[in-house]
């Protein structure tokens, strides 16, 4: 199967200034993955590891300098492939490390270029469900109004009645209890679960080919979580969508996704099919193993993951790793491992699997 992947991200790096605006911190470094048509990709990883930043980058929503500093995001649609980060190199960000007006001006040009590149796919091809659906709606309009706006903007339906009928059918499809009444509800009048459903309806109303969901079930009770996930699963099958799901719930990833990425401190530390990564086999990054153990035992025997030292050049997981052997301990402390393929499609960023 030599199909062109729908989305191919290579060497994506994103940086931010730190709080004092003097130093650059790396939010993402060297992220590469690809997503086949009609597939589902899961992203797991601890809080602050850059999952949301990855998703925002896919839509070019970097609001602060320096933002995306390198990489390509190739999106394929109807046999044409476009690089969404095209022409960004024309506006290089010099002297990263001190905020200067040159950098700021360049950043603004880059942002314009980004907006230009991304305008064609935002909404139309890629939709996103934000972490907190209540905050992602405009508080003053009814959800029906906002869904209608999406339909008018991105589909060919233009008669007002048809748009409304379509919006109602979406609300119905995502399992709103009373679509007719909810159509006029303001977002704050909805419970968390209903709001999430409305968000899904809005995201799908533009008929995208890729749906991105950032922790779609956070803050919902367990039953609702299942319902929402089942809904997403059904919709994916039904509309032959591709999906990227960020979730802390490994079971979710297991049931929904074929492939999975494990993030840690802005890097992919393990990637592979869900079977390879989440099954209890031997070959695994120590962090992933810990994650799975925590999930199974609900008692976590992890080290203190708050202590992180990325700058010393060693493995970012060094201080919490409990699988360092004497063979690799020196290397672990000194240099960051690269992603190493241990199997087809299965890659791990750990010196354990390198020959040293």
């Amino acid at each position: 199967m030599n199909e062109v992947p729908l989305l191919k991200v290579s060497n994506l790096s994103v940086n931010f200034y730190n709080s004092e605006n003097i130093d650059v911190v790396s939010a993402l470094s060297d992220i590469s993955f690809s997503l086949a048509q009609k597939q589902c990709l899961g992203i797991i990883g601890e809080s602050g590891s850059g999952k949301s930043v990855t998703l925002l980058s896919l839509l070019g929503l970097m609001n602060t300098a320096p933002g995306i500093t390198s990489g390509t995001i190739e999106f394929s649609r109807d046999d044409t492939t476009i690089n969404l980060l095209e022409n960004l190199d024309n506006y290089p960000l010099h002297d990263i490390g001190s905020i200067s007006s040159i950098v700021q001006r360049q950043f603004n040009r880059r942002k314009e270029q980004l907006n230009k590149n991304f305008q064609a796919i935002r909404g139309k091809q890629i939709s996103i469900i934000f972490q907190n659906p209540k905050l992602a709606f405009n508080p003053y309009y009814s959800i029906g109004h906002q869904i209608c706006e999406m339909i008018q903007l991105h589909t060919d339906i233009n008669s007002e009645e048809k748009v409304k009928a379509k919006a109602l059918s979406w609300l119905e499809r995502v399992g709103m209890d009373d679509p007719e009444a909810r159509f006029y509800n303001n977002p704050y009048g909805l419970s968390g679960g209903l709001c999430q459903r409305a968000m899904i309806a809005m995201a799908l109303a533009s008929e995208p080919s890729l749906l991105i969901a950032d922790e779609p079930t956070t803050g919902l009770d367990t039953i609702l979580q299942r319902n929402i996930l089942n809904l997403l699963h059904d919709l994916q099958q039904e509309l032959s969508l591709s999906m990227i799901i960020v979730s802390h719930d490994l079971k979710v990833i297991q049931t929904l996704c074929k492939d999975v990425l494990v993030y840690h401190s802005g890097m992919i530390i393990e990637k592979g099919t869900t079977k390879q990564v989440l099954a209890s086999s031997e070959n695994k990054h120590p962090y992933t193993r810990q994650l799975i153990q925590c999930e199974l035992n609900s008692v976590c025997l992890a080290g203190d993951i708050l202590i992180q030292n990325v700058d010393n050049g060693g493995c970012p997981y060094y201080y919490s790793c409990d699988e360092i052997t004497s063979r690799i301990s020196k290397t672990c402390a000194q240099s960051n491992p690269s992603l190493h393929n241990i199997d087809d499609d299965h890659a791990i960023r750990c010196w354990k699997y390198h020959d040293i």
């Binding site: 305008q119 935002r122 909404g123 996103i128 905050l135 992602a136 405009n138 999406m150 303001n186 809005m202």
Partner: protein, 295 residues
């Protein structure tokens, strides 16, 4: 924040009484009072524009000096030169209506530009704009006004431009605070992500839907302030000059005869000023109470 939770009234027909119930009786009274006064004002403006006045406002009639209301067709009496107060009152609307609207437009327009720039342009523009605002704030309004009056002729339009400019910072601050709150939510990002164009986000999703309360109530407030300023300055002799009538200089000329017991020619324009001012201030207050929804 008002406790009234207004359900959607745009999609469902509601009778007048139901509307009143939703807004609250007090707010309805305020609203109807303000709208009646403002409608009368606009009507009066057009009446004088097309010169349908009962008397010529500049016509001296020395037989009827300082006559009380309802004397021989002079509904509101006459002033110290026997000119018809009612006609002069109507013509006086011209003195401030359009200039005040100019003041409002200046304040709101630049306020919007400053606030919106804080989201979509980079820091240096924002910093420059807020510096300009701060320097406007630092300048006392009256000093600025007298400066302009001293430099230029006492032209009402210059005065209104000053009033407009001096109100920019307050509009900008209110809007910026609101927009900062909105930025905390992800809905601006969400709107960008769903491909809505920037001008639609700014105009519809930010300004119209979320900031219109501020815009309306501030407009009414600035309008009130502009009218008050015009009246005060004309009263002091710095605004509209005789023989052109303005409510301020009518009060002034009438007040010379107050002690003789000829109350009417100064109290009637003063009353008119009070009615109009209260209409605008009440409108400003009520608009924010009625339109502000819980969110």
């Amino acid at each position: 924040m008002s406790k009234i939770n207004i359900p959607r009234w745009n999609h469902k027909f509601m009778s007048l009484i139901e509307n009143v119930k939703i807004i609250g009786i007090r707010n309805s009274i305020y609203l109807s009072y303000s709208s009646i006064i403002i409608l009368v004002l606009i009507f009066g403006y057009f009446v004088s524009y097309f010169e349908y006045l009962p008397f010529d406002p500049e016509d001296l009639d020395l037989d009827y000096i300082l006559s009380p209301p309802l004397t021989d067709g002079h509904i509101l009496g006459t002033d110290y030169l026997g000119r018809d107060t009612f006609s002069r009152l109507i013509l006086g609307i011209e003195a401030y209506l359009v200039p005040s609207i100019v003041a409002v437009i200046i304040a709101i327009f630049w306020g919007i530009i400053t606030a919106v720039a804080s989201i979509f342009t980079h820091k240096r523009v924002t910093r420059t704009l807020s510096m300009i605002n701060d320097s406007i704030l630092a300048m006392p309004k009256l000093v600025l006004l007298f400066l302009v009056i001293a430099i230029f002729d006492p032209n009402i339009f210059y005065i209104m431009i000053v009033i407009g400019i001096s109100n920019i910072p307050s509009v900008a601050q209110l809007l910026t605070a609101k927009i900062d709150l909105l930025k905390e939510r992800s809905f601006i990002d969400s709107a960008i992500a769903s491909g809505i164009s920037y001008h639609s986000i700014i105009l519809k999703h930010i300004l119209w839907s979320n900031c219109r309360v501020i815009l309306f109530s501030q407009s009414a407030f600035i309008m009130g302030e502009a009218i008050l300023m015009e009246a005060s300055l004309s009263y002091l002799g710095f605004g509209v000059q005789e023989p052109t009538p303005s409510w301020g200089n009518m009060v002034q000329s009438g007040s010379n005869y107050l002690l003789q017991g000829d109350l009417w020619s100064s109290t009637i324009p003063a009353l008119a000023i009070m009615l109009v001012l209260s209409a605008f201030y009440l409108l400003s207050y009520t608009v924010s109470r009625v339109l502000e929804r819980r969110h």
